[in-house]
Amino acid sequence: MANSDAIVGWKTITFGCHILEPGNSANFRTGDWRSQRPVTDKEKCIKCGMCWIFCPDMTYKQDEEGYFEADMEYCKGCGICAHECPKDAITMVPEEG
């Protein structure tokens, strides 16, 4: 696994190899694993939040209007949200290229 963030020297590696910055995996974009993306039809959405609750990649955030939107930086395209949406409001569409 090549990872440019992991290029550290023995003098600069953190003490005891501890990771001192909590939750910094957020710097790692898993979005490029995706071959399809969820698209929400706001007409059908009832803002129940099931897509948010069942996403294994913590991608969904609620906007001011109460809709849930997935962050494409992290979405791996698994399709759980679309599968679990009680209103079939989410469609998985293939990523181009």
Partner: protein, 312 residues
Amino acid sequence: MIPEFEKFKGFKAKSMPKEELLAPGHRACQGCGEVLALRMVMKALGKDVIVCNATGCMEIITSPYPHTAWNVPWIHVAFENAAAVASGVESARKVLKRKKKIPKKHVDILAVGGDGATGDIGLQWISGAMERGHDFLYVCLDNEAYMNTGVQRSGCTPYGAMTTTSPPGKKSFGQVTWKKNIPAIMVAHNIPYVATASPAYFLDLMNKVKKAALVKGPAYVHIFSPCPTGWGSAGERSIEFARLAVETKVFPLYEVIEGRYIMSRKIKKAKPVTEYLKGQRRFRHLDEAHIDYIQKRVDAEYEKLLRLSEMT
């Protein structure tokens, strides 16, 4: 009843904790039900927790240096010993509080491991920690095989399932043993709280984890964790399979509070096990006789559980 439960009202779908204690960017496979279960566990616990993680998928995918998905203090030492590490953390906090070296505030101590780490290689360490009565909770994320090393069978692998070390062949039909009953072994330790849970029933899962944390002394929660990679199932169906396992009685949900069995969800009209088995490559090779056996045994095991809940 347990006094600590009295004030706890339970989580509500409408007012779920927003905070993510597990950050995105972790390396779990697409549609991983195990990391989803872990995310729910962490939501239930909140930020005042110290996590002791066993080696396995969850440890690997959350901590490839220099990246961590953890927003809470977390330690990984080895595969089989998370419960002993947690014993140490708990003992340290006890004495340091007594000596006024750390604040009195309660911090939950979570030991978490896979089914292999829990039911096979780590059983002794968990047994020791439970028996000694440390105030911690142990969560087993059961994806029914050693996934991190490439899907080898464990004691929790279900009957008939194909894994890389229980392959079906001319002389074999896959896993020959019935799933080991780890929750029952935990109950035998006379600990105050044992429960099974499923991410498909997320409020139930979170409530159980919270109760396990609230209770004084050791507690154990066994969580069904679909693994599309190891099961040969579609990633999008992880929650569906978790739900089907409950609806077919394959994975019943219950609590054991101070030795009393309480069914969380009584299944009146169960779906046939085939509903659950089909769609998973690990069961694809099974013939009717095997499926028939599984159906009968699943029903019998469920009956046993019902009787326990009526008796206690």
